[in-house]
Structure formats: structure tokens, C-alpha cells
Symmetry: C2
Subunit: 351 residues, 2 copies
């Protein structure tokens, strides 16, 4: 592990279920459009250029540490860097989000994918990690991430966001062997990539299984979970905390906890106290305030933060977060109210 | 109860958890665009005109009985008829779905809503029920429906479909008393409307809580569930089976079963066997094949149908359905394969 030591290690201790003075907090998509300072930079570059420019990555990654006061930074990047590194043609279309112009629909399509070399094909991410750590100066830990193999599979087969995800689902139903081969290739690429992130200096990693929830429970356990488990097994010896977040998959929390991940992300549709009851002390939990709560009044935001802390209850192993990414129109003052409320109420709850 | 008697009463018996020779089956959105015969009619009328023309309602409602072989018809209509009957300005926009041009955002907005008289303001629905029963000639039961109060609240406050439902959520967080007043008014209107449907001759009713799942569990139980419960209590004396379907709310299945509904709808994200274990024999269950499964091969469709039947297990009280509406691009032959497979496998399972 080559990550620099940090002054504020609340997040890392909570990941390991060690005692903390107060609950640490960060927010998914915290480096993003709700901050005017982010929008000012975004106005100068297109999104992909931002992801590929290490100084820009460092600047926007550190913004929420300075402006909001989070206890961990998460690298500014995008899960679509992997499909692109595997040889696909990525475009960010303003109204539609990421589009892959050459979706994977056949064995020949799978065969043309390459195994990326992280240094050659994703070196800009690794440079971004080093630039960010230089800018952070050890104030807080830096989290690296990737899309889960299944979530990347969904984008690569569908080619874009979708309402029903007909093509990836049809592939697992009609061509399960081909689907498994594609998942294995993605899992290998993601493993290489996350190990390189750790080598470059991230203090923890999160696996974002954004589309795990488009599968019924049995299919989730057959097609998404095994690749998360394989990834965790490969990353585990590197020694940094691993967060697994399968959105809309509360049906399988116990199984996610059994992958060996240190932390399980909990979405806002799941009661945090019940989740804790189900997974016990096997893992730490991260979550789970509904991001739309941040459009309420400041007092109401603070009350809802308190409800989440109360739902988790006493004891260690809670990382406060939203149950999904912070929304672009969120008032930054309400993001700061979350940080304040977590500090205020979690310190009291621990006394 | 004025509904005509029916020859095939499998659906009604299953609703009441009485013994059946085989599992009955119908599909949400079964009267819809996947049928060429529906599209031929749709080409002649706009959607709202279709809903308001009783002969057209009867024709498209009966199509899946004739063409697919379902065990129950569900009235062709739309949940947005209630906001319109309450005085809002509804438009169906091809690319966006239903739009209400005057969303409810203030106490003054709530005050201008009227309590519709079902005969005066929704008489076309009641005429459609009578025309449909005349066309069905008692072959299968006819299901009436409404959006749940919360789901209608969401549309009325947001004004259209949305990704995050910021306005309705902000109203419950910031103005809970106003939100409750609006919910009460909608609940009253929906109760009047569903009682009128029953009086006009439907054999059962379904409450579609399509947007229950946009709320965290505690807020669901505070804002959606109580209005469903109030509705069930008001409808119960009318004596027809009541189906409650809160999509993406598996966190609260026990509470939904406790509303007094006869049948609880189960979405495809929930394991049907686990759901049955949780609610026991209090209610019948309806569901829950993932509609995207119907893009698989015919053999695979039949296998997935079998998996759903196996998940429910032995015993009565199962109505086979999809876990969400059938998709417009579904091959009709695969819809028929579902019907065949349910008949084949459920008869065997009962032997």
C-alpha cells in the first residue's frame, strides 16, 4: 500500500469498524455540479477531457473537502473509462449521458475487446490519483472506484442508459455462456484497474453496482454478485478497505456482506437499522440519506440526518453517506448542513 | 355488487385463496401496444380519446382475452383520469408521457381542486365498464383500477414523470400538513371513483402505487400506506377483491398485507417465495415475472415462468402476473407462451 498517511482517518477507521469520535461522512457525487466552483471548471472543458486531465481531476476532487467539509475525497472520474480502455467508442451526449457507439451483442464483439494495461490505457487516472494526493496533503483519505463488472456489462451491451435494459437481460437469458465470458473479461480488466489505483495511492476503493437492481434477485446472485466476489478476492490482499454498493439490491444484503467486502453501501430504499440487523457485525455500513431530502429546509435536513444516525444506532462501523448520488440542483448550504448535523448528533450519540 | 357472473372464475377464487385447478394469469398493461390489433386502433385515436370512448375501451380491454388468453381483463384506462376530474389540465405528450400543466405546489392550488362526481366527471369510465362487460359476455372477470393516492399526489405535485420527484418529496418534508390535506382529498376522490367502478360492474379492483417506491421506508409508511389503508377500508364493504400493488416497496410487505387488501402485488425485484414466507396466509400474492424476460426465447420464457411458480410453491392464493407492465416491444407469441406455461406447470404442480 502506497497511500500517504492521513490526518483525518475517521473514514478509514469506520471502514474497519474501529472506534471513532464521531461518524465520518462523505457523499456520492460530491465532486459535482451542485458546486458553483465545479461548474466554473466544467464550463471550460468537456466532461471526458476533465476526467483525462490530472490537474483538473485533483482540483474538483478536492473541492468538496475544502467547500463542504467531507471526511473523504472520492476521485473525480467516470465508470465508463473501462469500456473505453477496452476499445469501445465512448461519447458523452449532453441529453442522454454516456453512449457507446459499438455495443457488444455477439461473440465477435466480445472477442474484439482488449485487456487494458492500466498504465498505458488508464494512466491519466493514475496520474489524477497522484495529483490529488499531492493537493490533499494528507488531510483526508482518497477513495478510488470502478463500476462493477455487471454494471459495465449493462452499459457495454445496451450501449447507453435505458429504461428496461432489454439487451443485457436478453443476453443473460438467451446466451448465458457468452454473458459469462464477457463478465469475466470485464472483471479481469476492473481488477487490474483497481489494483493500479491502489498502487497509485488511493486509501480505499468502492465498487459501484449501479445496475445490480435491474435484475431479479436470483439473476442478481447469478450474474452480478459472483463478479463482485471475484473482484473482492483479487483486491483483498492489497489491504485497503473495499466498499461494495449494489443499488436496489437489499434483497441480497447478506450475500453482499459475505463477498468479503469491508463495507456494504445501503441505498435509501432500505431501512439502515434493519440492514444492520441482517448483516450484523460482519461489515461496516455506508449510507443512506435520500438525496432528495437535501431540497428540504435546513432544519428538516438536519432532522433527517439524525433519523439516519438513529436508525443505525449505537456502536461503530457506520460511514454516513447519501443513499444515491447528490443531485445537481442541491443547495450547497444543505450539503454543509448534512456535515454539521452528522458531527453534532453522532458525537452526542457516542457519549 | 352488480358485476355479472363469470364462467372462468379462477382469478376471483385465487384472490380469495380458494382452491383452483391451475394458477390464473393476467398481465399488467396487457391491453397495450405489444398487440398489433391495439396499435391499429391507437392509430385512429389519441390516447385520451381512446380512454373516453366506451366502445374503444371495451374493444381494447377484451383484446388480450381473445388474442392472448388471459384469465382476467383489466379495464383500459389511465390513472391520470383522476387529476383531470379534479380539475387539472392533462395532456399526453408523446415523448414525455402524461403532463399536468398546472402542478399543485401551494395551499391555494390544493383549494382549487374539486371532489369529482364519478357520474358527471368520470361517466365515460363507468360506460366503458358496462360496454366491456357486454362484450366479455361473462367469459372472465373485469378488473377496475386507480392510481394510489400517493402516486396521484406525485403526478399532481410534480406535474409529469421525473427522475427524482423533487417537488412531491419537498412538500412532504417541508409542508407535511399541506401534503396530508392533498392526500386526503385525493383519497376521497379515488374512493368515490372506485366505488362507482364496482357499482358499474367490475369484479375486482387494483390500487396501483407505482410511485410508492420513490419514498424511503419510513416515509412510505407515513405518506403512502395510510391512504391505501383508508381506501381499502372504504372499499371493503363493497365485497370485491382488492389488490394493492406498491412497486419497489418490498420493505413493507407485511404492512401492505395488514391494510386489509385481499391480494398484494409483488414486483420482480422481490423473491416470491420469501414474500410468501413474510406475509403468510393473510393475503393472496400476485406476480412477479420480470417483463424483460419476455424478450428471451420461447423456451427460456417458459422456464422463467416455471421458476416463478416454483418460488411461490404449493398451495392456493397465487395469481400469476408480471412484476411490472408488459413492454410495448414484447413479441405477442411470448405473451402467449407465458399463458401456456402457467397452465402447463401449475396444473402439474397442483396434482
Amino acid at each position: 500500500m502506497t497511500a500517504p498517511s492521513v490526518q483525518n482517518d475517521l473514514f478509514l477507521r469506520a471502514c474497519r469498524r474501529e472506534p471513532v469520535e464521531r461518524t465520518p461522512v462523505w457523499m456520492m457525487r460530491q465532486a459535482g455540479r451542485y458546486l458553483a466552483e465545479y461548474r466554473a471548471i466544467r464550463a471550460q472543458y468537456d466532461f471526458i477531457t476533465m476526467c483525462k486531465t490530472p490537474d483538473v481531476v485533483a482540483e474538483v476532487t478536492v473541492q468538496p473537502v475544502d467547500l463542504v467539509g467531507v471526511d473523504a475525497a472520492i476521485l473525480f472520474s467516470d465508470i465508463m473509462v473501462i469500456p473505453e480502455a477496452m476499445g469501445m467508442h465512448l461519447e458523452m451526449v449532453e441529453s442522454r449521458g454516456p453512449v457507446l457507439h459499438d455495443p457488444i451483442r455477439s461473440a465477435a464483439d466480445v472477442a474484439r475487446l482488449r485487456r487494458p494495461d492500466p498504465t498505458d490505457h488508464l494512466g491519466y487516472v493514475l496520474d489524477g490519483i497522484r495529483a490529488t494526493n499531492a493537493k490533499l496533503e494528507g488531510r483526508v483519505p482518497l477513495i478510488g472506484f470502478s463500476g462493477s463488472p455487471w454494471t459495465l456489462f449493462v452499459y457495454m451491451v445496451e450501449g447507453s442508459g435505458s429504461k428496461n435494459y432489454r439487451y443485457p437481460k436478453a443476453m443473460i437469458y438467451n446466451e448465458p455462456a457468452l454473458a459469462r465470458e464477457l463478465l469475466d473479461r470485464i472483471t479481469e480488466a476492473v481488477g487490474d484497474y483497481m489494483l493500479a489505483q491502489i498502487e497509485a495511492g488511493v486509501h480505499a476503493v468502492q465498487i459501484f453496482d449501479t445496475w445490480g437492481g435491474i435484475l431479479p434477485p436470483a439473476e442478481y446472485r447469478e450474474f452480478s454478485l459472483p463478479s463482485i466476489q471475484a473482484l473482492v478476492e483479487r483486491l483483498k490482499p492489497a489491504g485497503v478497505p473495499i466498499i461494495a454498493f449494489s443499488k436496489d439490491c437489499s434483497h441480497s444484503l447478506e450475500a453482499i456482506a459475505d463477498t468479503g467486502a469491508d463495507v456494504v453501501g445501503i441505498d435509501w430504499r432500505t431501512d439502515l437499522g434493519l440492514a444492520r440487523g441482517r448483516v450484523g457485525d460482519r461489515v461496516a455500513l455506508q449510507g443512506n440519506l435520500d438525496p432528495v431530502t437535501l431540497f428540504a429546509s435546513r432544519d428538516e435536513v438536519k432532522q433527517r440526518v439524525r433519523n439516519v444516525l438513529d436508525a443505525f444506532g449505537e456502536g461503530d462501523g457506520h460511514i454516513f453517506n447519501l443513499g444515491h448520488g447528490i443531485l445537481p440542483e442541491t443547495p450547497p448550504d444543505n450539503a454543509r448542513a448534512v456535515i454539521e448535523a452528522v458531527a453534532e448528533y453522532s458525537a452526542r450519540a457516542a457519549s
